[in-house]
Subunit: 169 residues, 2 copies
């Protein structure tokens, strides 16, 4: 299963930490890459790549100027996460049948075309909260929790789980 995450309309000042969290969540929860549109932000890209360097991959972060083209040209199905969509639980079995998917997450105001270009508009609760959380829960359901055991290649660091304290090798 290959998952691409697409973060729409990134604004470097306002969204840097949130978009970085989106990138790290995409990686930790089993996606292969994150694309983003809006304003290019090499600092955000660096933050994500530094984690890949330390904790392993493969995982890439790439900028796309034309978000519509990126969605349209994607070879696979597209799930747009929005609080206005159909509840995740009602669609996840159907979505899981597709092994190549793009998960689109918005920033502030999402252009109406995003709803039209997507194969599914999916809500992770119908309440306002966070694209970071929506992405994590979506991937957690898509991979059925198996993503937590994912092995990362070329990792310089890895955690040995502890009852108390920290152990890194």
């Amino acid at each position: 299963m290959a998952v691409t995450v697409f973060r729409l309309s990134h604004r470097p000042c306002r969204d840097r930490r949130i978009s970085t969290h989106c990138g790290l969540v995409a990686r930790a929860f089993g996606a292969e890459r994150i694309l983003y549109s809006g304003t290019r932000d090499t600092q955000m890209e660096m933050s994500v790549r530094n984690v890949v360097k330390q904790w392993g991959g493969p995982f890439t972060v790439e900028y796309r100027k034309d978000w519509k083209a990126a969605i349209r040209d994607f070879r696979g199905k597209v799930a747009h996460l929005t609080m206005y969509g159909i509840p995740l639980r009602k669609r996840i079995n159907r979505i899981r049948q597709h092994s190549s998917i793009m998960v689109v997450i918005g920033g502030g105001k999402v252009p109406p075309d995003a709803y039209k270009l997507a194969d599914w508009n999916i809500s992770v609760t119908s309440q306002p909260h966070s694209e970071v959380a929506a992405l994590a829960v979506f991937l957690h359901e898509y991979f059925q929790g198996k993503e937590v055991a994912k092995r990362f290649r070329k990792a310089r660091k890895a955690v040995i789980p502890q009852e108390r304290g920290k152990k890194v090798v």
Copy 2:
């Protein structure tokens, strides 16, 4: 089941959006309140309260100057979310037996005492990602996905899920 979330060491400038997301995720995924320590931030509190006003509750946000006392005095069990802890899947059944829990999430550097004061140190993947995501997946597992159907009281707005577009009543 009553869940309190505790956000440690909030810094208004750096963490405002992330902490706001933590508050909204806590509410949307079934917690009753979020406490936070660090620097008091009425703007962040307002952002969360505005969502409660519009989308319903009950949900509160409260500042605690003394985080250790707040954890120590809590009547119930305390789960601290950290990438260094024991994997969620290995402990969630045990945690779910307790109906009053506090979920502690850190900001930047978490003081060693947080690990000691907690009944459990729990990892939501052993990879670096996001406290927002960790909180969402933890609550999603704790409530076994039932939180997505939660009804909010005194809501002025609610979403009617749609295949395309937005419908709010």
